[in-house]
Symmetry: none
Subunit: 412 residues, 2 copies
């Protein structure tokens, strides 16, 4: 089964936007034992005709993103209809949806959006609850492969994929070698190459298993794909070696895992953030159900705020600096006390690019965890990196320390 | 001048790694008035032969990344030499460099790296001080375009590009029609289709201008590319029509714009967040220099926290609910008072997916802005959408209201 992806968007080739679709599709298709054989990015406009003409004869499925918008350079729908000699017909239901969406947002429907309600004969409409442009599925013919025309914005694309496209591709006849089991291990506190160095010799000679890795800031996913017995054998090895470092055997975020652990125990957490500036609170509240376990957070960027909101004695900051074990200990204990939560986490560090000193260079960070039942833990880390990467990594670390604390592991 | 990019790497198509090369090349080439016409990703292995065979006749320059490594599936060098009927010759200087690099890292040189010292006849070696594989430049012939074979890892690729590739492409004859000016307008409070509906009739018949749009949650970028006079004419139309809705004529984030406006005026802001859960604070602190203008934020997810930290009278919440104009007014005024900042912003809403009622369905949000000098502004919005999209959109809205307040526009 040969699948290709075609991404349209001048902004992708101008470097204004990074293409994250390919990685998304790659991961998703892999679950079905299917690989992307080629991916092509082209500018908005008529170049799509050339690319599709080349791709039609060699493909079983082509996934096309972008070019379904309301403006003149959005031509995917029209080019595909023309290539297949299909009439474009106005779909009244889509048109009503579009107009409804405008009205519900207090806007006047715009005639230029009407084009988005045009459907090629024989095309299947893929509903888009998150935007005006529906997707389209055009089943294969003798001259053309299965075509999926999908919107560019990820928030529109991803739900449409999950609900409507993935199930369709899953139904298509695929090679018999399709894997039987897929399992993802999300591991914190171990690097990709060290995990590979452990796992690969262990599994040498084990048939029917494919390994995949994906390393992000502070977290590594290990994907096991293959026969049930092979996946189970590899899973056992991973569980035995990594134990508490395994955050989940799913693709749940660390925040989701922490929230579920807290909710099961009827516990709460509060946050006190300096260098992460609210990211930890925001990451927790990205997850549904967070209000049960997270009631408040303090963003104490200035020294004065650390004292006013968390009761950190100004002398502690004066004597040790805002980025110090002493200050973070006072922050996290003040946060626990003032919030009344069962657990508190706190961070103070130098995110950069400025503000570093010889003693505390950019990338220095202290993190703390305090609990109603348990000792306060404070530790220094050093991760010099770009500002947002630094914040992300520290946020994940803190949530992972909290996870270990909730589970009763001694922190170290 | 037609330029294409070919990225090889199975990991890119499996979704293990996001392709950041394309955006890098796109931005770099644009400085030379050159666009990438097509970009293709293919797996490691022999597929590169098919792709290059197709691309040779239509291209002036092909930039190829990856496939120069030491393992069996790294075949770029060999396939290119074979297609051009060039012998591969061992380059002793490269070989010594590779061996030296291993020794300096305390490792034993590995025979599998010797392949990396092979150079096709007529190829120009591009030194790689950051890795073992040098790049290669093969000048155009009658049968083939200029070829650049570059290593995949960004830390090796980028310096090589800057020092050796970019200068070579800059010397090549380029089209006289290269665009003279690029300008990006970032607009809040107007949709992509309405902007297009305004701009396109205005510019009808205007030669030498290319328009591009990129709509994200609550913000639209309008790209103008073309001759100086055409870009200036379109810029004037946009400025006249959208005035205060233009956040920036650059690619700065709304947070960057707000921070700079505050810093110029020596003012500060504090945040009080319920449904955005810290995202506004985190977005502000994503930017360097935020500590000058942002000293503290309150994440008041529970009613109790709203009362304890912002002084919201429990009776107000009881009478009107946490998601109400009255509560948000009390939140934002309490935030201004308690923080001592010059401006305060506050939000309370129903992010969903649960927690909606008939009266206040998921997507309902109240936002408030208060200032030391200025009336308190509170307004209701309704944006039913997925949780993180909702948070993002509300965050951008709040920052934009703050921007308008700082600039002295009456809020409405």
């Amino acid at each position: 089964m040969r699948v290709e992806v075609v991404n349209t968007g001048t902004e992708l080739l101008l470097g204004k936007v990074i293409n994250t679709h390919v990685a998304w599709f790659g991961n998703e298709l892999f679950k079905l034992g299917v690989r992307i054989q080629r991916q092509t990015t082209i500018p908005d406009g008529d170049e799509i005709r050339t690319v599709l003409k080349e791709a039609f004869p060699r493909c079983d499925v082509i996934i096309i993103t972008g070019g379904l918008g309301p403006t003149n350079d959005d031509v995917t729908r029209e080019v595909v209809a023309d290539m297949l000699n299909r009439e474009l017909q106005l779909d009244e239901a889509i048109l009503r949806n579009i107009q409804q969406m405008f009205v519900s947002r207090g806007l006047k429907p715009n005639r230029s959006n009407d084009r988005q309600a045009m459907v090629p004969e024989g095309g299947v409409v893929l509903d888009n609850p998150n935007g005006t442009a529906p997707g389209l599925y055009i089943p294969a013919t003798e001259q053309s492969p299965h075509l999926f025309l999908l919107p560019g914005p990820p928030r529109e694309l991803k739900p449409m994929w999950t609900n409507l496209v993935y199930p369709k591709i899953a139904e298509m006849p695929r090679p018999e070698t399709a894997p039987e089991l897929f399992r993802n291990f999300r591991i914190y506190g171990a690097g990709e190459s060290s995990i590979a160095g452990f796992l690969e010799p262990k599994l040498d000679g084990l048939e029917g298993l494919e390994l995949g890795y994906c390393a992000r800031l502070g977290e590594v996913d290990v994907r096991l794909i293959g026969s049930k017995s092979a996946v189970e054998e590899a899973s056992s090895s991973l569980r035995e070696e990594y134990q508490r470092k395994i955050v989940t055997e799913s693709e749940d975020s660390i925040a989701r895992v922490v929230i579920d652990l807290l909710a099961e125990r009827n516990q709460t957490v509060a946050t006190a953030e300096s260098c992460t500036g609210g990211l930890i609170a925001s990451t927790i509240t990205d997850e549904s159900g967070s209000s049960d376990v997270f009631h408040r957070g303090y963003v104490t960027y200035s020294n004065e705020a650390k004292s006013a909101l968390l009761g950190v004695a100004p002398e502690i900051i004066e004597a040790n600096g805002a980025v110090s074990a002493e200050t973070v200990q006072a922050m996290v204990e003040g946060c626990l006390e003032n919030s009344g939560a069962d657990h508190a986490v706190a961070v103070s560090g130098v995110a950069g690019p400025t503000g570093g000193t010889d003693e505390k260079p950019v990338g220095t960070v202290y993190v703390g965890v305090a609990s109603r039942n348990g000792e306060t833990f404070v530790k220094k880390y050093f991760w010099p990196s770009e500002r947002i990467a630094f914040k992300t990594r520290v946020c994940r670390l803190v949530l992972d320390l909290l996870r270990q604390r909730i589970l009763g592991f001694p922190l170290e």
